[in-house]
């Protein structure tokens, strides 16, 4: 068996293991990577070329910042404040939670965002005696859409930004407007689809407003000094992300700088903070980079790109193909391995096409495709998992009939904007 065939078999085997969820996805990726290294398909000296340190360090830095800030009660504060602002109105709760989820997701990872906001959302809907499903679905869609808006919002964007050398502002200029339009579209669709279930009597609304007003968001702040330091560092990090290209520093450096400043300033025990870093996620990324590196090393990706060029002749066709292929694939498989595989493919297509719009097409499809099915994105799984624990049933079909429409609407709108911008009417 030649090296290329071994790389393909190990790649498919790893993908299969990840999809089956029989073993942890980090273990599956590491197994695939180890096999490639043992069989010398990827030579040891080439590993640093495939391990995307930008992505790994950016993720690590943000995890440190989030885990340190979380101890202060910052995110509970945001959730309680959001619930209070809604004053018992179901529409306002839907709108505000969608907006806050999208905003927080654009700067933090989607899983952390939904883990922090879902308990509050469930509590509010329980008080209102409303069906929580529309609110939970809106939260999922908002999280995936919000993550699309920035370089640091969703792992595929981090990987794309690092591979293509795109800046934070590039993402803001290209993806944030699309995310904003998609958020509105998703809100309007959820409202129209569930409008009969979003009604409560004025008395109930007033009663809920009164109950929520009794909640003390300031009481959520467990450590005021850490809270202030966390907010300050997060603001510095966001400002640095805006200007990192002018300062000629990588986004990963910004994240690591913010993490180290917060660690030193807050005097939090590094052991405690490092313990909470999601090491399985980082090892999953590391393993995947090597598994996909096997396909690059053996020329498989290059061959696929050359074959694709036989069928795809224009930039417009490439844009549509990449957008919809990544969207539908991402609805079924994890968007991280998908993006890891698509990145070298788009790079290889660079010999034939202008890849700049294709990166946005990949970001659009990989991030928003996750809205399509219940297992399409991590945020979906986490919210549905929480719902199940709270005895709220959202079946695969319940999700599919709303999620697929949202996916087609949002990806379609985004693809349309990219087409107008880069291909022309």
């Amino acid at each position: 068996m030649n090296q290329a065939a071994i790389a393909i078999v190990i790649f498919l085997f790893t993908y299969g293991l990840i999809m089956s969820e029989r073993i942890h996805r980090a273990a599956a990726a590491l197994l695939g990577a180890s096999l490639l290294l043992i069989l010398n398909v990827v030579p040891w000296e080439n590993v640093p070329d495939y391990l995307d340190l930008d992505t790994l360090l950016l993720l690590t830095g943000m995890m440190i910042i989030v885990n340190t800030a979380r101890k202060s009660g910052l995110f509970e504060y945001i959730a309680i404040k959001t619930a209070k602002m809604a004053r018992g109105s179901p529409i306002k709760i839907l709108l505000l939670f969608s907006f806050v989820t999208a905003l927080v997701s654009s700067f933090l990872d989607n899983v952390t965002t939904v883990l922090l906001l879902t308990p509050m959302l469930l509590y509010v809907t329980r008080l209102m005696e409303l069906d929580p499903v529309p609110f939970l679905l809106a939260e999922i869609f908002a999280s995936n859409i919000g993550g699309t808006a920035t370089l640091i919002g969703d792992p595929p964007n981090i990987m794309i930004g690092s591979a293509a050398g795109l800046t934070f502002n590039d993402f803001l200029m290209n993806m944030a407007p699309i995310a904003f339009i998609d958020l509105l579209l998703s809100f309007v669709f959820i409202y129209l689809f569930y409008r009969s279930e979003l009604k409560v009597s004025p008395e109930k609304e007033e009663q809920l407003g009164s109950i929520l007003s009794r909640m003390d968001e300031k009481g959520a702040i467990k450590d005021l000094v850490l809270f202030e330091k966390s907010v300050t560092v997060i603001m510095i990090v966001v400002i640095l992300f805006f200007i990192h290209d002018r300062l000629n520093i990588e986004p990963a450096v910004v994240a690591m700088f913010g993490a180290s400043i917060l660690l030193v300033w807050s005097k939090e025990s590094p052991e405690g903070v490092f313990e909470k870093i999601e090491w399985p996620a980082l090892f999953f990324f590391g393993g995947l980079f090597i598994v996909v590196g096997g396909l690059v090393q053996t020329g498989v990706i290059e061959s696929i790109a050359e074959k694709m060029v036989d069928y795809v002749h224009t930039n417009g066709q490439a844009l549509i193909l990449i957008t919809w292929f990544s969207a539908f694939s991402s609805a079924v498989v994890d968007n991280i391995p998908l993006t890891a595989t698509m990145i070298p493919l788009i790079k290889a297509m660079g010999a034939f096409f202008n890849t700049y719009p294709l990166w946005w097409a990949l970001s659009l499809g990989a991030c928003l495709g996750g809205n399509g099915t219940a297992i399409g994105a991590s945020a979906n799984v986490v919210v549905i998992g929480i719902a199940e624990r709270e005895k709220i049933r959202i079946s695969f079909m319940d999700f599919l009939k709303v999620g697929m429409i949202i996916m087609i609407l949002t990806v379609g709108a985004g693809a349309g904007i990219l087409w107008i911008r880069y291909i022309g009417v």
Binding site: E21, H24, R25, G73, E76, I80, V111, T112, L115, L116, P119, M120, Y123, L127, I211, R214, M215, D216, G219, A220, K222, P280, A374, I375, S378, V381, V382, I384, G385, I386, E388, R389, S395, F396
Partner: protein, 181 residues
């Protein structure tokens, strides 16, 4: 458990680990319990007083001002046991004198409290009776929505506890909300 639930549960464990439980624990202190959520409707209040009640704190008046249109029954209970004990040891005359003094101080106390409650717009009824300080309060509270009681109600002159045993007994036996001041 169906296939979908199994997949979701497995994926959830892989993605979130035990983070959700930790977050939920932090939230618990902010989520009001079922009891806290239902605001009781207060239409009738029982307010036992005795010699331990030197002055009703302003905070109590403030709290009672929220119970619009409620009727407050301020009750002064003279201990029948104490009167009987005096009668047996010092005689009938001493017992009668003790009772008259009790009635006099009770009336003065009731008259001092009534105007402050009426100023809050509450309907006030005063009662003075001879009986058992704990049993009668428990009995009277059955028809009331709220009990407001001084923490040293029914205590002996030499106070050795922060809450009198009589109050402790009452709060353990009544089924309505209680404010102890």
């Amino acid at each position: 458990m169906g296939i979908f639930s199994t997949i979701i549960s497995r994926k959830f464990k892989n993605i979130a680990g035990t983070r959700y439980e930790r977050i939920l624990k932090d939230y618990k202190e902010f989520f009001l319990t079922k009891e806290e959520l239902s605001l009781p409707v207060i239409k009738s209040i029982l307010m036992p007083v005795d010699r331990s009640t030197r002055k009703v704190p302003e905070e109590i008046y403030e709290a009672l001002s929220a119970c619009e249109d409620a009727e407050v029954t301020v009750v002064y209970i003279m201990s029948e046991d104490a009167c009987e004990l005096i009668r047996q040891t010092l005689g009938e005359k001493a017992s009668r004198e003790f009772r008259l003094k009790q009635e006099e101080s009770g009336r003065a106390l009731l008259e001092s409290i009534t105007p402050s409650l009426e100023r809050l717009g509450l309907k006030v009824r005063t009662r003075m009776l001879l009986g058992n300080k704990s049993e009668d309060v428990i009995r009277l509270s059955r028809e009331k929505d709220l009990l407001v009681i001084p923490k040293l109600y029914g205590s002996e002159i030499t106070k050795t506890t922060s809450i009198s045993p009589v109050v402790m007994k009452i709060v353990q036996h009544v089924s309505i909300p209680v404010i102890v001041y």
